[in-house]
């Protein structure tokens, strides 16, 4: 057994797990955060995507032990306490998710993209989401929704930026 300490969605959490335990299993079975999904178990589909130190990773391919001492953000930690993240708001309003199984992974990859690029082109979005497969939507609505969310986030941050306030 291996002891791991991971900061998940801002909360320090500890677990003692078999060495072969993946980060996905740690999140789903030890921490009961079932937002990240197991779709293929080999890193092809991206349904298990979470952010580790702000970088999107396939949590089915990362060992829990490799996440020791790091910051993990899952879909459960995306929304602020008082509402929805702009991505969640736009995805909800535009019906960009259908069955919803790929959604948590898509949203986390999109979150990582928007942290680096506040005005992504369609090509940028398709590139960033290349590791997230979806069989329902045909991607069009997802790509549009990410662009809409980026616009919404720019609109929200610009007035504050003018005032010199911090945003992030």
């Amino acid at each position: 057994m291996i002891d791991v300490t991971v900061t998940v969605n801002g909360v320090v959490r500890k677990a003692s797990v078999p060495a072969e335990t993946t980060l996905l299993t740690l999140l789903r079975e030890n921490f009961l955060l079932t937002g990240a999904k197991l779709g293929c178990d080999v890193g092809d589909c991206g349904a298990c995507t979470v952010l580790v130190d702000s970088q999107p990773v396939n949590s089915c391919l990362m060992l829990a032990a490799q996440a020791d001492g790091r910051q993990v953000l899952t879909i459960e930690g995306l929304a602020p306490k008082d509402g929805l993240h702009p991505l969640q708001k736009v995805f909800e309003e535009t019906g960009a998710l259908q069955c919803g199984f790929c959604g948590p992974g898509v949203l986390m990859s999109a979150k990582a993209l928007l942290a680096e690029n506040t005005n992504p082109s369609e090509h940028d979005i398709r590139d960033a989401l290349a590791g997230n497969l979806c069989r329902c939507t045909g991607y069009t609505k997802i790509v549009d929704a990410v662009q809409d969310a980026a616009r919404l986030m720019r609109e929200r941050s610009e007035p504050r930026a003018l005032e010199g306030a911090e945003h992030g």
């Binding site: 937002g35 178990d41 929805l84 909800e92 019906g95 069955c99 959604g103 069989r135």
Partner: protein
């Protein structure tokens, strides 16, 4: 209520407020003061804005999806729940001589092991009950399950499957549907023929139509097998209560059919089965039971709830797929491109079991002539067993395959005759009141309008 002898109409009930007296015991008043109420028509009127059409709607489950709060079957855990794995045959056609599960049963953490002999009624299927839950005597495709294990962890269950020894005697195997139709071909289900469903549609006189034709085109088109690949693998949790009632959480869209199949395979009255369907992507591939009866028997044997999740490999080898088609089209046309006669012969690769093949066959056969006026037509379709992953329902039920064929041939005819591909379609397409191959008079037909609009939108005239 119509004591006064007048006919009771919805308008009268509303206008005279009669509904107020529906529950009262006293006599109805003979006269009522007319009230100034407008009666809403029961159906929307032409050009009327309704509360739905043209309005933006939000999916009721969108917020939960975005928050990661939608609970799919794999997100559920029951107290004491075990994990199941199914041992797959890995051989396409064979007789099972012996299955030795002793080494698996002896493993610490293994709580139950079963084979096909443990399933009360080991056959199911939406049309023909020709598919075993676990193959007991004969393996008909490599993805057939031959044994199942429930253990305290998924890893132990998977290791236990590897310790199950199955002795096979290889049987002849057929992978080509056309070959499978030969009279002397090996009979996969030991029946008289590998053809298990047929449909033939005849309209007009094809011999006369071909005789009148200026050109006759003969082409063959084939399509490949396609897997639905839902992002969510097939998953189920089964849970018996102390009274012998079974609760099944499963990735199944057709829950009523699934209950019927479950009660048949398990020998239970339907009233004792509760099925909760939660689906993360179906596309036709999650419309029937698969592992659920095996899980139920494992759970009964172990006395604990059991969860089973297909691996991505099992999704490809042990769930249904789209039928590969072999499509022979013979079409006679006049110089101007009008279709005068057509014969279509469809051979559907049905894989090892029927599943939704009969439905697919019917729809493909009916739609094989396309949205075109073909007065002289013979359309015949056959679905045959092969030793491949079973084929079943997938979006369109055979319509996309024949569309590929008749539109491809239309392009070949247009090119040979030197006619614009859009023009040749306009000359043949259905109009309002056209008759379908099965004699149905069609209404609300907008094929030509749609084609014209599409051509305008993407600038067909300027491109060609």
């Amino acid at each position: 209520m119509a004591e006064d002898g007048k006919t009771l109409t919805r308008e009268r009930i509303v206008a005279e407020d009669l509904w107020r007296f529906a529950g009262s015991k006293g006599p109805l008043p003979t006269t009522l003061a007319p009230q100034a109420k407008t009666v809403e028509p029961l159906v929307p009127q032409p050009a009327q804005q309704t509360r739905a059409v043209g309005q933006r709607v939000m999916r009721p489950d969108s917020r939960a999806h975005g928050l990661g709060q939608t609970k799919f079957v794999d997100d559920l855990t029951l107290p004491g729940m075990l994990h199941a794995k199914i041992k797959r045959a890995g051989i396409a056609s064979a007789c099972i001589l012996r299955i030795d599960t002793s080494a698996a049963e002896a493993m610490p953490g293994v709580m139950a092991v079963i084979t096909g002999r443990d399933i009360p009624v080991n056959s199911f299927g939406p049309t023909f009950q020709d598919q075993p839950v676990l193959a007991a005597d004969i393996v008909r495709h490599a993805g057939d399950g031959v044994a199942a294990v429930a253990a305290v962890t998924e890893q132990i269950a998977a290791e236990a499957c590897e310790k199950i020894v199955v002795e096979y005697e290889a049987l002849p195997a057929i992978f080509d549907p056309v070959e499978a139709m030969n009279e002397d071909a090996y009979k996969i289900h030991q029946t008289a023929s590998n053809v298990y469903a047929t449909k033939i549609i005849k309209k007009g006189d094809v011999a006369k139509g071909f005789a009148q034709s200026d050109r006759i085109f003969v082409n063959e088109y084939t399509t490949q097998m396609v897997e639905h690949v839902p992002l969510e693998p097939h998953t189920a949790i089964v849970d018996w209560d102390a009274g012998g009632r079974l609760t099944v959480y499963a990735t199944i869209g057709r829950i009523t059919l699934a209950r019927a199949d479950l009660c048949r395979t398990l020998g239970l009255p339907m009233s004792r089965i509760r099925l909760i369907g939660i689906v993360g992507g179906n596309f036709g591939g999650k419309n029937e039971i698969s592992q659920e009866p095996a899980l139920a028997i494992l759970a009964k044997k172990a006395g604990r709830p059991v969860k089973g999740v297909f691996t991505r490999t099992e999704e490809f080898t042990a769930s249904t797929t789209r039928h590969p088609f072999v499509m022979s089209y013979k079409t006679g046309v006049a110089k101007d491109g009008r279709i005068l006669a057509r014969t279509v012969r469809l051979v559907l690769d049905g894989g090892a079991y029927c599943s939704w093949s009969a439905t697919t066959l019917g729809k493909a056969c009916i739609l094989a002539a396309g949205p075109y006026n073909v007065d002289n037509l013979i359309s015949e379709a056959f679905v045959v067993y092969t030793n491949k992953t079973m084929t079943g329902a997938m979006r369109g039920f055979g319509a996309p395959q024949v569309c590929f064929a008749y539109e491809s041939q239309m392009d070949e005819i247009a090119e040979t005759l030197g006619i614009d591909p859009l023009t040749i379609r306009m000359r043949n397409a259905f109009s309002e009141g056209a008759t379908s191959p099965t004699g149905q008079t069609l209404h609300s037909v907008v094929v030509k309008e749609s084609l014209r609009m599409a051509a305008d939108r993407f600038g067909w005239e300027t491109q060609s």
